[in-house]
């Protein structure tokens, strides 16, 4: 399988990259890790006339702390996320999730920016970013704008990203130290997309949940922030009835397709199971048990 022909551009700055993307318009695609785009090009399901390679842009790489947030450059790879001590300390859910994405070789190349910007409902980081209330920084020749992860996804492969815009960074608010977290992903095999997955971030005050955020992966055309389920849990001790109610609330917003991973009914049920498991693990971590 050989991709179609294209003109290759290797910009030396972010400004040059967004300038190219803006002037070339719909016929151009940015190339980061390439592990979504290149397979699509080999299948001729994508045939961009221009590729703008972001590989040489050091400004788009790295993880740093900035005023209560962690800023992650868009071309930071999954392998780099896994190795980041800053993320391991401050946002351990990101490491936990990255380790569940694909396999070691693919994590060497695959980037967090590609994972969240591509709009593939099977990708894991979009749901996690909705759970964390992250913001995406979108850059164009006109400047930067910020779109919340919870507002970014419009449908499968449709996002708020306009032609000529590049997602350059993610800004993730840091949850309080000692927060509970979990990303529970049901999959058929290593490297598979989720049959259903759930992300949870919560804080406890004594035995009571003080704050909670729940999001779902791959059970709808977009990731889903499970707002009602999240709210339901706050103020409770996560007793069995509450966990069941939260799982039901999450299932109520899931709209999975029947596919090779299971029927819609099964995948919706599994969304509830993943929520229950993620809540239990996050609670146990928040309590330090």
């Amino acid at each position: 399988m050989i991709p179609g022909q294209f003109v290759y551009h290797r910009p030396s700055s972010v400004a040059e990259a967004v300038g190219l993307l803006a002037s070339l318009g719909e016929e151009a695609r940015p190339l980061a890790g390439g592990h979504s785009l290149i397979p699509m090009m080999k299948l001729r399901m994508a045939s961009p006339e221009h590729l703008v390679d972001l590989g040489g842009l050091a400004d788009l790489k790295g993880v740093r702390e900035e005023a209560g947030s962690i800023v992650i450059g868009a071309t930071t790879t999954q392998a780099e996320l896994i190795k980041s001590d800053l993320l391991a300390n401050r946002l351990p859910i990101i490491r936990e999730t990255a380790l569940l994405i694909a396999d070691p070789q693919i994590r060497t190349k695959g980037t967090i920016g590609g994972n969240v910007a591509n709009g593939d409902p099977g990708n894991d980081m979009p749901g996690v970013m909705q759970c964390l209330a992250a913001d995406y920084v979108l850059t164009s020749p006109a400047g930067e704008r910020v779109v919340a992860a919870r507002d970014f996804y419009q449908g499968a492969y449709f996002t708020a990203l306009e032609a000529g815009e590049l997602l350059t960074a993610l800004r993730v608010p840091v949850p309080p130290a000692g927060h509970g977290f979990a990303y529970e992903k049901l999959k058929r095999k290593v490297g598979d997309y989720a049959t259903a997955a759930a992300a949870v971030i919560l804080t406890m005050n004594g035995g009571t949940v003080a704050t909670c955020s729940i999001a779902l992966t791959n059970v709808a055309p977009t990731p889903l922030f499970a707002e009602a389920a999240s709210r339901l849990v706050v103020g409770t001790s996560l007793d069995a009835a509450t966990v069941k109610a939260a799982a039901e609330a999450a299932k109520a917003i899931a709209d999975p397709a029947t596919d090779g991973r299971g029927t819609a009914e099964y995948r919706r049920e599994m969304a509830g199971v993943m929520v229950a498991r993620a809540l239990a693990k996050a609670e146990s971590r928040a309590k330090g048990t």
């Binding site: 399988m1 050989i2 991709p3 179609g4 022909q5 294209f6 003109v7 290759y8 290797r10 016929e27 190339l31 390439g34 592990h35 290149i38 397979p39 090009m41 080999k42 006339e49 590729l51 390679d53 590989g55 392998a79 694909a102 396999d103 070691p104 070789q105 693919i106 060497t108 190349k109 290593v190 490297g191």
Partner: protein, 171 residues
């Protein structure tokens, strides 16, 4: 656009310690560059969809599936293929020896990818547990041996590189 006008562009890569330059079409995949331009046919083309890992090579110390990367993206990099794995004196690398001693292959199709993936795995984690080996080669598929002997082969190499004699776990 008239695609016949697309220029080839220069790619300079150090492959198995030797610096090479070629002019390639941008769409040339690294696996095709290695096999067809450089005649290094050790890395195999398997699934072509980044699942099987038969095309795995080492680039700047990391494992990459060379079927899912353009040669132009490797410009300026150091690439090691299975042809560059043996010791400089021509003796087998500990991993090659391990695959031979432990019967870590049958048809051999996945072997170059397994070897190159295992090399990076052991550079990052010189003494992995069995579970760490199995997770470490999760991106490499073998359809013959069922992995048992591949895991043993990597354990053999880890032991040798750590100056120990390999002890097979009791079955």
């Amino acid at each position: 656009m008239d695609m016949s006008e697309i220029d080839t562009i220069p790619v300079t890569v150090t492959v198995n310690g030797r610096k090479v330059q070629r002019f390639v079409e941008p769409r040339t995949l690294l696996i095709h560059f290695l096999r067809e331009e450089l005649n290094l046919t050790g890395a195999h083309i398997g699934c072509e969809t980044s699942h099987c890992g038969a095309c795995t090579v080492e680039i700047d110390g990391q494992s990459v599936k060379s079927c899912t990367m353009f040669a132009v993206q490797a410009d300026g990099s150091a690439v090691t293929t299975v042809e560059g794995l043996a010791n400089p004196d021509g003796t087998l690398h500990a991993l090659q020896e391990g695959f031979r001693q432990m019967h870590g292959l049958q048809c051999g199709y996945c072997t170059p990818g397994m070897l190159m993936r295992a090399k990076v795995l052991l550079s990052e984690n010189p003494d992995p547990t069995e579970a760490e080996i199995r997770h470490g080669i999760a991106g490499n598929l073998c359809r013959c041996t069922g992995y048992q002997n591949i895991v043993k082969a990597i354990q053999y190499a880890a032991a040798k590189l750590n100056g120990r004699e390999f002890q097979e776990a009791a079955e």
